[in-house]
Symmetry: C2
Subunit: 312 residues, 2 copies
DNA sequence: GAACCTCCTGGAAAGCTTTCCAGCCACCAC
DNA sequence: GTGGTGGCTGGAAAGCTTTCCAGGAGGTTC
């Protein structure tokens, strides 16, 4: 047994003869080590959790795929949990992953300001990597995030150059993506009208309905998230407003919702899969204790389109 | 130790006094059992695999979410793998899940005709449930699937009533969804022109380009899958054809791509999340050896829209 | 009072690895 | 020839449960 273990884990203290015999027997018997026993002994399960607030969002799904591939190549399994948007379920899922003894967790939780969630993050003793989320005050957790602010600033600058002065924005719940996007627009329009709610299609709809009802109406609308864009586009369609001509519009993310819109939607874009890959790499680095982990900031950029035009 | 185990697993042979003392100690120490040791002893890991051909597809993501919730409630963890569309990766993922000793696998593989995949399915000894896939010839595997044929037949009937006679169809790779959809259309149009390829946006595009180039041009196009629809819609947009007026169009699935199309897209719809839930239930039933498993067939239905109109 | 039974408890084994350690053999050097 | 060294090997412990089993305590019945 000892020698089998040594052969399979490539321990140097094995004679060539023994190695051959073991490998022959292993091949013949189809033996493969029991991961539970390995985990029990070595105190690592070679599995990591991906705790998503809502994997239905295409951006997060893409992120999960990126992470899964990278982790698989490194020998890790990915345990997926979905909170369906409920912060308390995020907490429950993290606890569940802890009980399952995952070696680490990639976390994209729903609410960065929730007390219970933050209390949980403070006391959890599993290595974490945040995916486009900021840690609670006074806590250091490595993260992979997007530079939403730059992309948004470029979008706002584009609107300003087109002549817009009354710009309204719809932003989501307490998350760094929302804060950054907001800051990006405010870098250019410091008096921008802002409606803040949660990252949902419904709020995107309601907010857009309200904003286009204001008099004078804002000449441009910025939706700070793909779900908010989704809702806002519904509202604009229901109001029979033509994008560009009646009101300019900027959305987020390269999601299918935007592709077939007429006219085409101007977007702040990014590569979500890369966040998954880099997050996995960061976690793997931490788990193998291979140097000090450094936060990663991935770019976003603005892609202009006909939905942005000079104000009427 | 024995008594702790008995208390926590609610074994009847425990005195009330002992139960109280154990629970008090457990509460004080924050003890919780080690799942690896439990799994090692009981030979079940309380985790199941979800082997997806491509989780980026919104329909499959939705299915995964449904399965995850149901499994979580039953105490199972979900190990996700994604093959990125590569059948050999499906095989590798199933093998990996086996090495990880999952109790069962929900399988939505990419290619029902692939020799290596089918060989793998024949000899795998983990309980499987297929998600909208048929087992290889001569193999019995429980499954949850959709009745694509009925929905498609209704769509075709709708086209026939509108007066269409030259109908063309784009279908995907070797999967039951493709066969069923094809059969549904052929139930009505037995001379339907069919292009068969893989379930990809690219093939949807190429196939649509070819079909609308034919003379005389088919008066209606049916895309048998959401990715194929995605590609076909790109082609129709590039060709500046107006749906309904120039050519009628039927797509599949309630995906975002369809929502903002002008005119609205007629669709064969279904509830993908339910497939995940029912698949999980079926697997749980099998794992608890609770009666004979029965295959599940979920409905699809046709939702007419302006993309279908009488032929020009 | 003895025999028997029920209820409960703690010890021990088993589930499968990995790793430490002791020991064996062979070889080298003196 | 002897002592020392290095390379390998196999035994044993540990990692944490669960479950079987033996046995003790206390009650009941004849």
């Amino acid at each position: 047994m000892s020698s089998v273990s040594r052969v399979l884990s490539e321990h140097p203290d094995v004679s060539p003869d023994m190695r051959d015999r073991v490998l022959a027997a292993v091949g013949e018997l189809g033996y493969y080590p029991n991961v539970l026993a390995q985990g029990l002994r070595s105190q690592r399960t070679m599995s990591v959790g991906f705790a998503a607030s809502n994997i239905t969002n295409a951006v997060l799904a893409e992120t999960a795929v990126g992470a899964e591939g990278e982790l698989r190549r490194a020998g890790y399994g990915l345990l997926l949990t979905d909170a369906g948007g409920d912060p308390l379920q995020d907490v429950a899922n993290i606890a569940m992953l802890g009980r399952r003894r995952v070696d680490g967790i990639l976390l994209a939780h729903g609410d960065e300001r929730h007390r219970r969630v933050n209390a949980c993050l403070k006391q959890v003793d599993i290595p974490l990597v945040l995916i486009d989320r900021d840690p609670p005050r006074g806590v250091k957790i490595p993260s992979v995030g997007f530079d939403h602010r730059s992309g948004m600033r470029a979008a706002a600058e584009h609107l300003r150059l087109l002549g817009h002065r009354r710009v309204a924005m719809i932003v989501g719940g307490p998350r760094r993506a929302a804060r950054e996007r907001r800051a990006g627009v405010q870098d250019v329009f410091d008096r921008c009208e802002i409606l803040e709610g949660d990252f949902s299609i419904e709020f995107g709809y309601r907010a857009a309905v309200e904003l286009i009802g204001r008099r004078p109406r804002p000449t441009a609308l910025v939706a700070g998230g793909n779900t908010l864009m989704h809702g806002a586009l519904r509202a604009l369609r229901d109001a029979s407003l033509t994008l560009g001509a009646d009101v300019s519009f900027v959305g987020c993310d390269d999601v299918a919702v935007a592709e077939f819109h007429q006219p085409q939607i101007a977007l702040v874009r990014r590569r979500p899969r890369e966040a998954g890959v880099r997050g996995a790499q960061l976690l793997i680095q931490i788990l193998s204790e291979d140097g000090e982990p450094e936060n990663v900031l991935l770019p976003t950029w603005f892609a202009a389109a006909a939905s942005c035009a000079p104000p009427p």
